[in-house]
């Protein structure tokens, strides 16, 4: 039986002469990678929702890719579908890939390596074709055709590697050096269902309880029904007690920056909305919960990986635990990632029972680390260190 596989590619290249971007799309279905012309067309018209600048405008850590499991909000069961989102920016080209299927063993790092090679290859085609346009050998339309042909060919090659060759599957997600666990986060998230959203510039979300007879938003954008979303309400951090002295960059001990990093592993809302407009993808009542994410430091090429586990507490609440590993450190005060599977197992079984966060941590290998009280996302912006969070709850004084 043909597997339900959708593989979406988007390429944005900047036309150096006019400084305008031009886009390429591809959608391949099934194991054999059959071209889905309809989705390609729909994607073209839905493109306005994909904000490339937001997705690629990253400062220190670059998100390379993330893996997700899809949760069906109707019956709160994990759908058999998994998705892998990868992206890469090379010179003036930006490449996005979204692979949705029932395949759960895709190696995120191997796939990203391929994405990097593919984008570099496409840059090489574009550079040569641009030079030929300058030399008057080909015209601009031919340039687009040439890039498009290789974009399709390389997309098909990636698809084949996953679906038929299996070379990007069942491989451990490797790191160049043995990474250390540098921190962990627990997120209490709430499911928001029956939502409408403005597709205009404001992106305002309307719940079904709000009476909203208008079809158009105040900003002039159209209001449409959208897939459910997760709203992160409370956050607790677990970090070494003297983390400020251990990190090389103050951002790595900033609760807000750590939260922002974790937050980027969730599928971009605008991308979800775009996918929802595609008949073959239809997010419907599904939400994507991250399973792992992979980042790279811009300056040092160190790798930062976040592993996630989640537990559905009731029909509205989901708790998500994220553990961060980093190849940048070798300090023994952090924990070796060798302990990661044990930590994830202990936390997973702890989350299943009656929820007592501090007790769960006390029973795990993270027991010697500092656990902050739960703080709201908005309040995080006001804090610059973990001590600030503690002081919010102890009336200004903290012994941590």
């Amino acid at each position: 039986m043909e597997k339900e596989i959708q593989n979406l590619f988007i390429l944005e290249c900047l036309d150096e002469e006019n400084l305008l971007p031009y886009h390429f799309f591809e959608c391949l279905n099934g194991t054999t990678g059959k071209v889905d012309i309809e989705t390609k067309k729909q994607l073209k018209s839905a493109l306005k929702d994909v904000c490339f600048d937001e997705l690629f405008n990253e400062k220190n850590y670059i998100l390379k890719g993330s893996k997700h499991v899809l949760l069906d909000t109707d019956n709160l069961t994990i759908n058999q579908k998994h998705s892998v989102f990868t992206k890469n920016s090379s010179e003036n080209c930006r490449f996005l890939n979204f692979f949705s299927s029932d395949i759960d063993d895709i190696s995120l790092t191997s796939t990203w390596d391929q994405i990097e090679r593919i984008s570099d290859a496409l840059v090489s085609v574009k550079n040569r074709a641009e030079q030929q346009v300058k030399d008057g050998i080909i015209n601009s339309a031919m340039l687009v055709d040439e890039v498009d042909a290789d974009f399709f060919k390389l997309g098909k090659y990636l698809h084949w590697q996953i679906c038929e060759e299996y070379s990007l599957r069942s491989k451990p997600d490797r790191s160049r050096f043995s990474p250390m666990i540098t921190g962990a986060v627990l997120l209490k998230a709430f499911l928001l269902t029956d939502l409408s959203q403005c597709t205009g510039s404001c992106g305002k979300i309307y719940s079904s309880t709000e009476e909203n007879p208008n079809i158009l938003c105040e900003c002039g954008g159209e209001i449409i029904l959208v897939p459910p979303m997760l709203k992160i309400e409370n956050i607790s951090f677990v970090v070494p007690k003297n983390i400020e002295e251990m990190v090389q960059d103050s951002e790595e001990s900033s609760p807000f920056k750590i939260f922002s990093l974790i937050n980027r592993a969730f599928l971009d809302r605008k991308l979800t909305l775009t996918l929802n407009k595609l008949t073959s993808f239809k997010m419907g009542n599904k939400i994507a919960i991250p399973a792992s994410a992979y980042y790279q430091y811009k300056d040092t090429n160190d790798i930062l990986r976040v592993n996630f586990i989640h537990e559905i507490k009731d029909e509205r609440e989901i708790v998500i635990f994220a553990c961060i590993t980093n190849t940048r450190y070798n300090d023994e005060n952090f924990l070796s990632s060798v302990s990661l599977p044990i930590i994830m197992r202990d936390i997973k079984s702890g989350l299943k029972g009656e929820f007592n966060w501090e007790k769960i941590i006390a029973r795990s290998e993270l027991r010697d680390w500092m656990v902050t009280p739960f703080i709201k996302g908005k309040e995080l912006e006001k804090t610059s260190s973990f001590k600030d969070i503690q002081s919010l709850f102890t009336g200004g004084s903290s012994n941590v």
Partner: protein, 429 residues
């Protein structure tokens, strides 16, 4: 189905490590100057003849560099660094080399020696890597794969690492080289192989091909042009030619794969354990064949890991054979293990007669080289005795077991494969 037969991931070119590249360059560079000087002093007649022959082609060089160039060609030929390197081609290639590295106008003698060292190392490596790439191309083209996928694999997993490796030979000599020149070396090597196999009627020098490439491809350097450069200059120009030239070999391999595939299907359908075991033995024997093919035809280095793997495979073959024939692994009739191995040796000699050389009296070499198969047939008993002697020595006189026989087999096989005379001979059928 092809996945059960061939691991396509393995059909990739593995480039040399940077340390190896640096060592190759250093070795060539450190001896070259002395060799050139020595050649100039000892071979004046050869150099004069060559100078007359290449008068026009190397006219642009200073007299001193002319001497160096001609002497270096003499070294290539007399030391067998490269086989069949036409002198006219060599002169054209050197001219293109100087242009591609921007050294045509000014180049010190020291730089010149370095440039020649980089070039010849690069040329040797390309000839080796092109053999692999053609082998991979044939294997991939024989599988049920989309043609575009085959082209992409040949580009990104074969030419790309091979071109990067070749480029590094210049980089370690601190030269920046036009990538189209490197592509031209590959193109010329591809043409040479097809010409040698009598699959094409002409071959161009690297120099001529470089001139052509300069007119067709507009960019010359940069990390980010390699994929497209390979696509435009090598894949688009040579894919169809290679397909046509190796049509019969591809067809033959395809039939073999289909047969293997049909056997596998039958095997799984019937679930006949004996048949499964038998096929497994054949598969394991194929591992030996792969080692021989890589070492003797592709000139791939034999590593210790591969030897250990081979030993394990042979041990498994013998154990399975014992179970298949006797129902037990530890058989009383040890000679059966031995006979089985001897048969394997002779099937190796059938395909690669040169493997027999270390077992032959040196005085009989000339006869052996003229009629290897007949010689082996006539001297079978002597060869067996020699083999038995080596096996006994390696099994230390113990009773034969799958384990010690496999050890002996792998050691002997590797000893033969490292023999320089074995490596230098080739008996194409």
């Amino acid at each position: 189905m092809y996945r059960e037969i061939v691991n396509t991931e393995e059909l990739s070119y593995e480039p040399k490590d940077i340390v190896e590249i640096i060592n190759d360059f250093r070795n060539m560079y450190s001896t070259l100057e002395t060799k050139i000087k020595h050649f100039v002093q000892t071979q004046p007649t050869f150099l004069n003849e060559l100078r007359r022959e290449l008068k026009t082609e190397i006219g642009f060089l200073s007299p001193q560099k002319k001497d160096m160039i001609l002497a270096f060609y003499g070294i290539i030929v007399t030391e067998d660094i490269l086989k069949k390197y036409d002198s006219k081609f060599y002169a054209e290639d050197i001219s293109a080399l100087l242009e591609a590295t921007g050294k045509k106008q000014s180049c010190t003698d020291d730089e010149f020696i370095g440039l020649l060292a980089s070039f010849i190392n690069c040329l040797q490596t390309v000839i080796g890597s092109v053999n692999y790439i053609i082998h991979h191309f044939i294997e991939l083209s024989s599988l049920e794969l989309d043609e575009e996928i085959v082209k992409t694999i040949i580009n990104v997993r074969n030419f790309f690492p091979a071109i990067t490796e070749s480029y590094l030979f210049f980089e370690v000599g601190e030269f920046s080289v036009d990538l189209r020149f490197i592509a031209a070396i590959f193109a010329s090597a591809l043409e040479r192989i097809m010409f040698d196999e009598q699959l094409s009627s002409s071959v161009s020098s690297t120099g001529k091909t470089y001139e052509k490439f300069k007119h067709t491809y507009p960019l010359s350097s940069g990390e980010n042009i390699r994929y497209d450069l390979i696509n435009k200059l090598l894949i688009e120009n040579y894919h169809e030619i290679l397909q046509e030239a190796f049509k019969k070999t591809i067809e033959k391999r395809r039939n073999e794969f289909e047969e293997q595939s049909a056997n596998l299907r039958k095997e799984f359908q019937a679930l006949d354990q004996q048949q499964v075991d038998h096929n497994r033995i054949e598969q394991l024997l194929a591992a030996i064949e792969q080692t021989l093919f890589e070492a003797l035809k592709l000139r791939k280095e034999t590593t210790e890991t591969k030897r250990v793997n081979l030993e394990r495979n042979i041990e498994r073959v013998l154990r399975r054979m014992a179970i298949e024939e006797f129902g037990v692994q530890d058989i009383a009739d040890q000679e059966r293990y031995l006979n089985y191995l001897l048969d394997t040796w002779f099937s190796i000699f059938e395909e690669y007669p040169q493997m027999c050389l270390p077992l032959i009296d040196i005085r009989l070499y000339a006869r052996f080289v003229s009629e290897p198969h007949e010689f082996i047939e006539e001297n079978k008993q002597t060869i067996i005795q020699q083999l038995l002697f080596r096996i006994r020595r390696l099994t230390k006189g113990d009773r034969y077991t799958p384990s010690n026989l496999a050890y002996a087999f792998a050691i002997i096989l590797y000893e033969f494969l490292s023999n320089s005379t074995v490596q230098s001979l080739s008996f194409e059928k």
